[in-house]
């Protein structure tokens, strides 16, 4: 088994906080000014999710957390395995793809995708409940992911 570097669990939660604000804003804008108004923020979410799926270490959230937030926090009581939060990012990424590509065809998919992303990110940031992580063992059991 290869050694996996464990991470501070507050890193992903910090990122989820920003994601929840962006997705809620995208949702609100598309209701206020027509679905397409939420599109620019959806594209931004898409890019941010893509970034954290393909290169989590260089992600801006991660850098902000490392440089500005973590030095002000106490030492974490527990480090965690990065695989479940990374899997959760992939789930978020799937919804962002739905909103970005699907939204071009059916604009209602923009607020729908934004709503799903918001719920997942909000639960993670404010309740410490990581939807993707929670599904991880169950999905592995059913052979959906390895």
């Amino acid at each position: 088994m290869t050694e996996i570097k464990r991470i501070d669990p507050r890193g992903p939660r910090f990122g989820a906080g920003i994601t929840s604000v962006l997705s809620l804003a995208s949702f609100a804008l598309s209701f206020q000014f027509g679905f397409i108004a939420g599109y620019p923020l959806m594209v931004a979410l898409f890019l941010l999710f893509a970034w954290s799926v393909f290169s989590p270490k260089t992600h801006p959230y991660q850098l902000i957390f490392q440089k500005l937030v973590r030095p002000r926090l106490k030492e974490p009581t527990e480090l965690e395995d990065p695989r479940p939060p990374q899997f959760a990012q992939k789930v978020g990424f799937s919804f962002a793809i739905l909103g970005t590509l699907g939204g071009l065809v059916i604009s209602a998919l923009i607020p729908i995708a934004a709503a799903f992303i918001f719920i997942a990110a909000f639960l993670n940031a404010f309740f410490g409940f990581c939807l993707g992580c929670q599904m991880y063992l169950g999905l592995r059991r059913f052979g959906i992911i390895r």
Binding site: E80, D81, P84, I119, F127, F129
Partner: protein, 146 residues
Amino acid sequence: METSLIATLGLLALGVIGGITFKALQGKGHRVSTKEIIDLGKLKASNNGLPTTEYGKKATLVQFSTSYCGQCPGVKRTLSQLEYRLGGLRFAEVDITERLDVAAHFNISQTPTVFLLDQNGHLIYRMGGVPKMNQLMEELEKLGVK
């Protein structure tokens, strides 16, 4: 203006309700009526890194963990302390990271999951997630563990 405000607040409320529901359900235990005997040897259970097969004189707690589980080490510490503090109680841990068959057999979909066994090793109570301690203590008391 109004519809978008209502929709946005509605989504926010949904997130809060989801989070509160999660907090309430997390770690909540329930009785198990099948009275299945849990074979610690077969499960390759361990205590402090050493294999263990014996049940506690009055009760045994079995924690199922995975290496990617963020909250497992904390729960393990708490339960180990309980074993140390209370007479007749034994603690054992089973790592199911690569043992999805075990997870499937016991229908475990999240870690930590904690089983409470009576003095003969019958499974009588189980908790998914971080156990609610007051509930756990009540169940232990019923088995004569104090």
